[in-house]
């Protein structure tokens, strides 16, 4: 299989959009990915011909929907190589997955237990743990990072103790692009008996993850960042761990029997899926993963690496350029500031020229505090982006800087 970016781009109708007189250059893939035609079409088809509630009806459409929903679960199971399909729990997204673990796994923890996260986490992988720590009198610790935006791995052994029950770290930093050495972290954590949650929100769209090979205990990710719809995500958890954990939310679908005195809970995965789920979200997410699995993932990785290297080189030629996040291992995300300009001004003027980037703190205020800056400009690439778009971006950026200085 060879990689043909022109062919890939044809499958993403939104890339033909114009912003005023400028063609859209979408470099905000860290926030959300665009959707291929096949996923968009399927959402229509579903509502036109298959819509029904699942796990309930005896009627034809309910059965079709249930089969498709469970098929999507199996597609995702296969993609991340989970042992069992019921280890794949549908959630509302990464944030929801982390909150589920904090709430349910959290109930197994007692005062004095420790949770270890890192200094470069997204707020969604900080706040649920702070809330839990407060509620259950736990100790929350942080793996520090260095100026390049890499975790200081030499600290790990002292931070991990026999009291550490959970380590929750991001695979790829949304603000800096750093790819963390998660295999190493998982191995070290397991040595002290701690479980490990990997925040895959920024990684699944760039690389395949094998949960058995990696041996992580939990993996969370979002549908909308991996070419699927918003409002759906996945929590992968090891079977025995999920069985040990109490349910998260109560309601329909998660029960076996209900009397007015007592309820017995359903088995996995339904125990964690109370109420009517985002049915089309789950099915369309499965379609997106199926589509992604059909691409040449090696070639995708190579193309994204080339985009990162090319953009970094071109940006570096601009006077006053300051990069944030210069780790050796990086995903296709670049955070930067230009001396003498405010990121919001630059972002606004890029927007006027059709370039979509993110500006601000990227929901990672501790990282901004670390560098003592209010925010950055972030360009994050996907494999449908091109070097020609980077050239246009650089022209637009230079024009913005000229206007602002």
């Amino acid at each position: 299989m060879s990689f043909d970016v022109t062919n890939i781009r044809k499958q993403f109708p939104i890339l033909q959009t114009k912003i005023g007189k400028y063609p859209l250059i979408y470099f905000d893939n860290g926030a959300t990915s665009q959707k291929p035609q096949i996923v968009i079409d399927y959402i229509n088809t579903y509502y036109e011909t298959e819509n029904a509630n699942i796990h309930r009806g005896v009627h034809h459409l309910s059965q079709v929907s249930t089969e498709n929903y469970e098929e999507a679960r199996k597609t995702i199971q296969a993609y991340i190589n989970a042992k069992k399909d019921y280890e794949v729990i549908f959630t509302q997204g990464t944030t929801d997955g982390i909150n589920l673990v904090a709430s349910s796994f959290g109930k197994l923890l007692k005062a004095g237990d420790e949770i270890l996260i890192s200094q470069m986490e997204h707020h969604s992988n900080i706040v649920p743990w702070q809330m839990l720590a407060e509620e259950r009198e736990l100790v929350l610790k942080y793996i520090p990072m260095n100026a390049a935006g890499e975790l200081v791995m030499s600290e790990l052994d002292t931070l991990l103790t026999e009291k550490t029950k959970l380590v929750s770290v991001t695979h790829i930093s949304n603000a800096l692009g750093t790819i963390n050495p998660i295999a190493e972290i998982i191995e070290a954590a397991h040595k002290v008996g701690a479980k490990v949650l990997i925040d895959g929100a920024q990684s699944l769209q760039h690389m395949q993850i094998d949960v058995q090979d990696l041996d992580c205990d939990f993996l969370v990710f979002s549908g909308h960042k991996v070419f699927g719809p918003t409002g759906v995500g996945v929590l992968y958890g090891k079977e025995e761990l999920l069985n040990e954990m109490p349910p998260y939310r109560g309601g329909g679908d998660m029960i076996k029997t209900v009397t007015l005195e007592k309820t017995t809970y359903n088995g996995l995965p339904h125990k964690f899926e109370a109420g009517t789920p985002n049915i089309i979200g789950g099915i369309a997410f499965g379609k997106a993963i199926e589509w992604l699995a059909g691409q040449d993932l090696e070639a995708i990785k190579q193309h994204e690496d080339e985009l990162l290297a090319y953009a970094t080189e071109k940006l570096d030629e601009i006077e006053g350029m300051q990069f944030y996040g210069t780790a050796k291992e990086k995903g296709s995300t670049i955070s930067f500031l230009i001396e003498g300009t405010h990121p919001y001004d630059v972002g606004t003027l890029l927007n006027q020229q059709g370039v979509a980037v993110r500006t601000g703190h990227h929901c990672t205020q501790p990282i901004m505090d670390f560098y003592n800056i209010p925010g950055t400009i972030r360009a994050s690439f996907s494999f449908y982006n091109t070097k020609e778009e980077i050239d246009q971006f650089i022209i637009a950026l230079k024009k913005a800087v000229t206007m602002l200085s």
Partner: protein, 138 residues
């Protein structure tokens, strides 16, 4: 000049430029005329909440009129607050409170600002009207 006259003048000035990049250049220019807030008034209480860049706004009553001074750490935000100060400063509290500010829509400012900035613009207008209301009571 009445608020409406000032608004009309701005609408006409913006109409000269077809391209939004040129309109932004004009916004940046207008920022240079902003009556700058006294450094002693650059306090946390005077920061407008809802702006993603830092915007300071101060108001005081001179005779029966409200006089605004401001500053911002981002150049475009500075231009936008300058436009609002130009329109609303040296007016009575009641005139400020009642101002409809239709020119914002006519220029197309709101839709051309990114959502965070658009929220910032709304926050700026709200804060200026709050000041007018507070000074009216004095």
């Amino acid at each position: 000049m009445s608020i409406i006259d000032k608004e009309n003048e701005l609408v006409e000035s913006f109409a000269i430029y077809d391209d939004w990049m040129e309109k932004y250049e004009y916004i940046i220019e207008l920022g240079k005329d902003l009556p700058i807030i006294d450094s002693t008034n650059k306090t946390d209480e005077n920061i407008i909440k809802g702006c993603q860049s830092t915007v300071w706004l101060h108001a005081e009553k001179k005779d029966d009129k409200v006089v605004f001074t401001a500053d911002a750490d981002a150049i475009i935000a500075k231009g936008i607050i300058a436009i609002l100060v130009d329109v609303l400063s040296n007016e009575t509290p009641d005139t400020i409170i009642d101002a409809k500010l239709d020119f914002i829509k006519e220029i197309g400012l709101q839709e051309h600002l990114s959502p965070t900035r658009s929220n910032g613009l709304v926050a700026m207008v709200k804060q200026m009207k709050m000041y007018a209301l507070a000074l009216k009571m004095k």
